[in-house]
Symmetry: C2
Subunit: 126 residues, 2 copies
Amino acid sequence: MIILHFQLYIVILRYKIMGLTKSEIFTDEQNQLSALLKAIAHPARIAILQRIIISNTCICGDLVGELGLAQATISQHLKELKLAGIIQGTIEGVSVCYCINPKTWKLLEEQLGGFLASYKGETTCC
Amino acid sequence: MIILHFQLYIVILRYKIMGLTKSEIFTDEQNQLSALLKAIAHPARIAILQRIIISNTCICGDLVGELGLAQATISQHLKELKLAGIIQGTIEGVSVCYCINPKTWKLLEEQLGGFLASYKGETTCC
DNA sequence: TCGTTAAATTGCAATAATACTATAAATATA
DNA sequence: TATATTTATAGTATTATTGCAATTTAACGA
């Protein structure tokens, strides 16, 4: 009976973990970089960032209609980018203006630059 | 009756789309870059790539044990990196050797470099 | 105050991703 | 041939992501 209980416990413990990224076994840098990359790794969010960058001034929600996505969907993507710290928004009357967060952008450039540059492209053994 | 059928059709059509990224409304570049980023945007895969890069020679499955993940999980991550074209593998006896695919790495550097550099960090309006 | 406009949130449905165990496949060695 | 070793795959469970309609919230203007 005790063994049965123990086995059940193990099963529950195992299935609690399933489907969840084990971030605790990786370094803070690895987790941080992957979080930033994940925020950018979507065509809609890349498109949004490109729009924000191209229009020198902040973009004020003209995104809806320009991209072929519903307002709710774009709002969600913006939220994700904001949560990752990649963009920041200011309320401007009825609308909200978004622009790049320079600090996070710089961090991304540094972290990713370092990572990409660490491969020198010398060993082509396979 | 006809209206009912039509509504059902619309519902089916809509729910076919749900949960699926609408890649057709984005440019090939946006889709390609996001696919590459998605492949890298996981701490385990970042760790795997770092290991491959650090050990100048190709890595032959020493990854299992070094990372705190099960063999099957690592194999799956390697598969995803291979599918994205970021790494390539050669069968070496019993084991398999992996190394960076220089072409894809260069592509990633170019695409991502261009994207990141497009922001000059001048306009801080919000 | 009431309507308008813009953005965020909620709720829902479906697919994708993550991780594991167990098993299969392939190659080397005794 | 039999066994050991290494990697891949199948199956399963769970969480995450994506997208939309509908609603709510917030601010402006008549």
